[in-house]
């Protein structure tokens, strides 16, 4: 299973769209850097076709830096330690940028 790492907004690159088309059941998504903006409620529709088995995370440090709150509830906020733990738990990490 794969951890998909996305660091761009939905507008600045097609990284998010491409990653969503490449997930398998049981994979996870982690939004970092500018990627965290994708967890704004206005972008929720992008994630509606994800299999329910795909867990969604965002890097809290990046969301705090950008003043983001009231984000999409489907995303769990984690710190860098959580990021490392996810990298261990999933078999590999694929970066989309």
């Amino acid at each position: 299973m794969t951890l998909h790492l996305i660091n761009k907004t939905p507008s600045e690159s097609s990284a998010l769209r491409d990653s969503l088309s490449a997930v398998s059941n049981g994979d996870a998504l982690l939004l970092i850097e500018n990627g965290v903006y994708a967890a704004m409620p206005a972008y929720a529709e992008l994630f509606t076709r994800l299999p329910g088995s795909v867990q969604c995370y965002l890097l809290e440090d990046d969301a705090i830096a950008r003043g983001l709150k009231d984000l999409n509830q489907d995303f769990r906020a984690i710190g860098y330690d959580g990021f490392v733990e996810l990298s261990c738990r999933y078999g590999k990490v694929v970066s989309w940028f």
Binding site: T9, N34, A42, D61, D62, A65
Partner: protein
């Protein structure tokens, strides 16, 4: 040179912190105002994310952009134009923004660009 005036427009299109674009643009804006040239700023696309309140960029080892944005008002740069569609696409209400902004639709943006002497993009 003091006799010459040119109107400048800075077009911002990038989100803050992920790249240096937002800060680069603000540094240019402050410099233009030091030169006392007519200046407008336009926020399109992801740049409207620069306008969200309560940044805390120390969390990622950077400096807050908000401080520089507030300086714009101190420097009498109060022509902050914002693309309405960019706000809507991101679910940001104009009330969420704590700066004095002027909302523009597509034809407003075209008209704003049309009347400038120089346009710098970031």
């Amino acid at each position: 040179m003091s006799d010459t005036k040119k109107s400048f427009l800075i077009i911002n299109r990038k989100a803050p912190y992920g790249s240096s674009a937002a800060r680069d643009a603000l540094d240019v804006a402050l410099t233009i105002s030091v030169f006392e040239q007519p200046l407008s700023l336009l926020f399109m696309d992801d740049a409207v994310l620069q306008l969200l309140p309560a940044h805390n960029a120390a969390a990622i080892g950077q400096k807050n952009l908000s401080a520089n944005l507030s300086m714009l008002e101190m420097y009498d740069i109060d022509q902050l134009y914002v693309c309405q569609r960019a706000l809507e696409q991101r679910g940001i209400r104009p009330d969420d923004i704590e700066l004095n902004i002027i909302l523009l639709d597509q034809s407003g943006i075209a008209a704003l660009i049309k009347k400038q002497d120089q346009v710098l993009s970031f």
